[in-house]
């Protein structure tokens, strides 16, 4: 499928990003970096994250009221057909303006183009839901899978990538749930599909889809783990078989799932550190935390407060000792701060909001609005 954004610029953008990283490490002189910027030009419009957010918000508003505006002309027609027709028109308009803006305003995932793409997809879904009313869930899954895949291939958008992934797994699950035998094997099928996705994209070095691949990797790692997680399988089993018991019953092959729950996070973390793969490492840490949660859901004798206390002490101790241990880099793993913290200011505010305030109940609340300054801690 033809790609929407200028591939050449994307390569040049990547080159200049890599070279500014080298420049920060004094591997290149500033003159060389400047020369690289000249030799490898790119003209994308790439505003900061906050302008992107603003552009996205206002583009969404504009898109929604655009539908309202053109629906004025369809007022007398009414009915399902008119509404389908209306959304097709809207969809085409969004796509035309999307292509126009990418070409002429040089947008590159800048908020407006994201909003227009999502609006176009939403508009494309409307006739589908109207025409195939009460269809099997499979039909919707296949339709959305095709739509999301086409959008992802052309625009390399992150949300549509997630959409593809979700549609694919919903498709798998709804197929497997049709028969009792395949129902029992659902966890394994999910794990196999997730592993298949991971290994098929692992060595893809395409720059155009670099972020999509990162997202897909993270999603497939998480799904692979959840497919084998004891908690998910046990609760899911109870849910799917509609057992309304206070405690969900033990599952078949329980030891297999114990093993998966313990081994997968450990494997992720070690492999992530060994292969310098940040996605793998972070997902490893998160799944490890979820494994702890799984364990405590079934076996823990402590109260929540005691667990929090113990978890806090263990985490602080672990982090502090690793920081001390990595004072000088070991095994090619370091504790060096790389790059500037772009959002250091917001981090500080977020930290303070979480750690709470003041021993009494407080907070300035008017009519449901919670002011930035008055956030009372959930703790005390």
């Amino acid at each position: 499928m033809k790609k929407a954004y200028n591939l050449h610029w994307i390569e040049n953008l990547y080159i200049s990003q890599v070279s500014s990283r080298w420049r920060a490490k004094n591997l290149l002189t500033p003159e060389q970096e400047a020369q690289i910027k000249v030799e490898f030009p790119e003209e994308f419009y790439r505003p900061g994250i906050f302008v992107k957010i603003g552009l996205f918000i206002f583009a969404t508003i504009a898109c929604s009221f655009f539908v309202g505006f053109i629906s004025i002309f369809f007022l007398e027609a009414g009915g399902d057909d008119a509404f389908s027709f209306l959304s097709m028109i809207a969809c085409v308009c969004y796509l035309i303006s999307l292509e126009y803006l990418i070409k002429n305003r040089k947008l590159f995932h800048s908020g407006v183009d994201n909003a227009l793409l999502y609006a176009a997809i939403t508009a494309a879904f409307v006739p589908m839901f109207i025409l195939f009313e009460d269809a099997d869930v499979l039909v919707y899954c296949i339709f959305s899978l095709i739509l999301f895949t086409l959008a992802t291939l052309r625009y390399a958008d992150l949300l549509t990538t997630i959409g593809c992934f979700g549609a694919l797994f919903t498709l798998l699950a709804s197929l497997m749930l049709k028969f009792p035998l395949s129902k029992a094997l659902l966890p394994f099928a999910i794990m196999i599909l997730a592993a298949g996705i991971y290994f098929s994209i692992r060595n893809n070095r395409s720059l155009y889809y670099a972020d999509c691949i990162k997202v897909l990797k993270a999603l497939s790692l998480v799904t692979f783990y959840l497919g084998g997680n004891y908690f998910i399988v046990r609760e899911g089993n109870a849910l799917l078989n509609e057992l309304n018991l206070p405690v969900s019953p033990q599952i078949a092959f329980a030891p297999v799932f114990y093993f998966f729950t313990t081994a997968i996070p450990a494997f992720y973390v070690i492999a992530g550190l060994k292969r310098h793969d940040r996605v793998l490492f972070i997902i490893g840490l998160l799944t490890f935390a979820f494994s702890i949660y799984t364990y405590r859901s079934f076996f823990s004798q402590l109260t929540i407060a005691q667990e929090l206390l113990v978890a806090g002490i263990v985490m602080i101790a672990a982090a502090v000792s690793v920081i001390k241990y990595l004072h000088t880099p070991k095994h090619r793993v370091s504790d060096e701060q790389e790059g500037q913290r772009k959002l250091a200011n917001l981090e500080a505010i977020w930290v303070a909001q979480n750690l709470g305030q003041a021993p009494q109940e407080n907070g300035l609340e008017f009519g449901g609005g919670n002011f930035g300054g008055g956030g009372a801690g959930e703790v005390y």
Binding site: A317, V322, G372
Partner: protein, 322 residues
């Protein structure tokens, strides 16, 4: 595209020499893997969990464990944290102080939160400050603000500002419990507006006078959300709409202009969003609901397209050179 192809392209264009290329490529292959942020996140979550756990355990066991034991434990922890921070701190300076000690920032954060727990416990158990809740809140606020400036800690600063806000909220809120009428609510709105503007002014001053200029963001952000949001509430629900309108618009313009000097697009976003809401509300309020209904979709479509054009070309409008 990988390191090798980039280096080849750079050598081909004669930007770098072969020798430099091999230096870079050996750097890339031996570069260590940094887990700095992951470790910091675990540390921070650990502090969050620990202090939450302590807080709940105190409340649950308030009658069974000896009070002295609890107080002594938390007090020791707090003192230890502050002692550690003092010991590893650098002298005060008006500029940003970069502390080479990797942990002192987090130890201070832990100390501040355990101090809160300690004070809350003393107040709960012994009503140390009686019914003067204001005193109970202003003490940690002062401690936080002092720590923020002494140890150069933005987290402590925003905790201090939060404390200041709740101090105002609390000393005013009892009046609203007494009378519960619109008048007292409006007092709350007014004090929120005043506090917000004061914080914005402080942030602006700290930048102008170069006294901890990097704190300016925290002041501006917290004050700059408090004041326009309160002004919005005032505009929606209270008389003297024109006053609130002027305050809100003034702040929005200030933020849009400010974003040029501070190179902070967050302020641009805040200014644009608050300004848009205030102007839209005022227009619809003044033309009446029938006209608003008729023109609504056209207005929103065109106005948001206008804002998009502004945001796409904000550099031109604000005179920012790339």
């Amino acid at each position: 595209m990988n390191t090798r192809t980039i280096l080849k392209a750079l050598v081909d264009k004669e930007i770098i020499s072969d020798q430099q290329s091999s230096v870079i490529s050996s750097y890339e292959t031996t570069r260590p893997f940094s887990i700095h942020w992951e470790l910091r996140s675990i540390l921070y979550l650990g502090i969050l969990f620990l202090t939450s756990g302590i807080g709940i355990i105190i409340y649950e066991n308030i009658d069974t464990i000896g009070h002295q034991v609890i107080i002594a434990t938390i007090a020791c922890l707090t003192i230890a944290c502050f002692a550690y921070t003092f010991k590893h701190s650098l002298p005060y300076s008006h500029d940003e102080v970069k502390n080479p000690n990797k942990l002192s920032d987090y130890v201070l954060l832990l100390g501040c939160t355990t101090f809160l727990a300690l004070e809350g416990y003393l107040q709960f158990q012994y009503t140390l400050f009686g019914t003067r809740y204001g005193v109970a809140i202003i003490i940690p606020t002062i401690v936080f603000l002092f720590s923020a400036y002494r140890f150069d800690h933005r987290g402590a600063l925003s905790m201090g500002i939060t404390g200041l806000a709740s101090w105002l909220g609390l000393t005013i809120a009892p009046l609203s419990i007494l009378s519960e009428n619109d008048f007292t609510e409006e007092r709350l709105v007014i004090s929120a507006v005043i506090l917000g503007i004061a914080l914005v002014a402080l942030g602006w001053l700290s930048c102008e006078k170069q006294i901890k200029a990097h704190f300016s963001f925290t002041y501006l952000f917290m004050g700059g959300n408090l004041a326009p949001a309160a002004a919005l509430v005032g505009l929606f629900t209270h008389p003297f709409k024109i006053v609130y309108f002027c305050i809100g618009i003034g702040l929005s313009v200030f933020f849009v202009l400010r974003s040029r000097q501070a190179h902070s697009l967050l302020f641009l976003l805040m200014g644009v969003v608050y300004g848009y809401v205030i102007i839209t509300y005022s227009i619809f309020e003044s033309i009446g609901s029938d006209a608003a209904f008729a023109l609504g979709s056209l207005y929103f479509m065109l106005s948001s397209a206008g804002v998009i054009v502004f945001l796409l070309k904000y550099k031109v409008f604000l005179g920012i050179k790339k």
